[in-house]
Amino acid sequence: MHSDQAEVKKSVRSYMTVFVMLMVFTVLTVAASRFHLAVPVAITLALVIAAMKGSMVASVFMHLSHEKRAIYGALLLTIVFFLVLLFIPVLSMMDHIGTPK
C-alpha cells in the first residue's frame, strides 16, 4: 500500500467533517427554500450551496484536492466545454430574431 495507515486515519477524520457539513448544508437549502425569497436570489443561493456541496464531495471524497496533472487537465477541458454547452444554447435563444407565435 502506498499511503500508510496514519494518513488514511487522518483522511477518515476529514471524511467525517465533510459528512457533517454536507448534512448542515442540506438542511440549510431546504430551510432557505421556505423563506420564499425573490426568485433570482433563491436560485443563486440554492446553486451556490449546491456548488459548495459538490466541490466538497469532489475534492475530499473523490480526492480531487490532490490529484495528478493528467486528470486535472482532462477535467479542466471538460469544465470549459460543460460551460459552453450550458450557456451558449440559451444565450443564442435569447439573441434570436423570432418571437413566440
Partner: protein, 194 residues
C-alpha cells in the same frame, strides 16, 4: 501477456490505467448531464411560466441525506481496505448497497404517486424533465448497485489474490458513486426547490 500499469502507477503520470479511465468516463458523464441541465435551462427560460413546489421536498431531502450517507460509507469501504480491514470493508460496502436500495424504493413511491395523479412525463415540460433526469440518474444508481453486488459477491475473491488491485477497483467504484451523488446534489435544488 500482461498490460502494464493495471495495478501500479506509471511513474511519469502517477496513475494506474483504471484511475485515468474512470475519470475520463466521468468527464463524459459531466457532458451527458450537462446537456440535460442545458436543456432544462433553455426550456425553463423559454417557458412563459414554471411550476413551483410540484414535488415533495420531504422525500427529496430524505433521498439527499441517503445519498450523502452512502457516499460516506463508500469512501469508508475503501479506507478500510487501505487499513487492511476486509471485514469492515464488507460492512461499509453492504451499507452503501442498502442505502442505494432505500434511495430507489423512495423514488419508486415518489414516481407512483405522481403517476397515479396523472402527472407522467407527458403532463408538462416540468414533469418531462423531472422524469428524464431523475430516471437517468436512477439508472446510474442501479448500475452502481450491480457493480457493488459484484464486489460483495464473486468479485470479492480478488482481495485474496491481489489486494492492491482489489483496492483500486473499489476506489474506482467509489469515484463513480461519488459522482452519482454529486449529480443528485445538483438535481435536488434544481428540481425540488426552485
Amino acid at each position: 501477456m500482461i498490460i502494464p500499469y493495471t495495478v501500479e502507477a506509471r511513474p511519469d503520470t502517477g496513475l494506474h490505467n483504471g484511475k485515468l479511465g474512470i475519470w475520463l468516463f466521468l468527464a463524459s458523464e459531466v457532458m451527458l448531464f450537462g446537456a440535460l441541465f442545458s436543456s432544462y435551462i433553455l426550456l425553463r427560460v423559454g417557458a412563459p411560466e414554471w411550476p413551483h413546489h410540484e414535488l415533495s421536498v420531504k422525500l427529496g431531502a430524505i433521498n439527499t441525506i441517503i445519498l450523502i450517507s452512502s457516499s460516506v460509507t463508500m469512501v469508508m469501504a475503501w479506507a478500510s481496505l487501505k487499513m487492511n480491514d476486509f471485514k469492515k470493508h464488507r460492512l461499509y460496502l453492504l451499507a452503501t448497497f442498502a442505502l442505494s436500495a432505500f434511495f430507489l424504493v423512495n423514488k419508486y413511491f415518489e414516481y407512483s404517486e405522481h403517476l397515479s395523479k396523472g402527472e407522467g412525463p407527458w403532463h408538462s415540460t416540468f414533469f418531462a424533465i423531472y422524469f428524464t433526469m431523475t430516471g437517468l440518474h436512477g439508472l446510474h444508481i442501479l448500475g452502481g448497485m450491480v457493480v457493488m453486488a459484484y464486489f460483495l459477491g464473486p468479485g470479492a475473491g480478488l482481495w485474496k489474490k491481489n489486494p492492491e488491485q482489489f483496492t483500486n477497483r473499489i476506489e474506482i467504484t467509489g469515484l463513480y458513486w461519488h459522482f452519482v451523488d454529486l449529480v443528485w446534489i445538483f438535481l435536488f435544488p434544481v428540481l425540488y426547490l426552485l
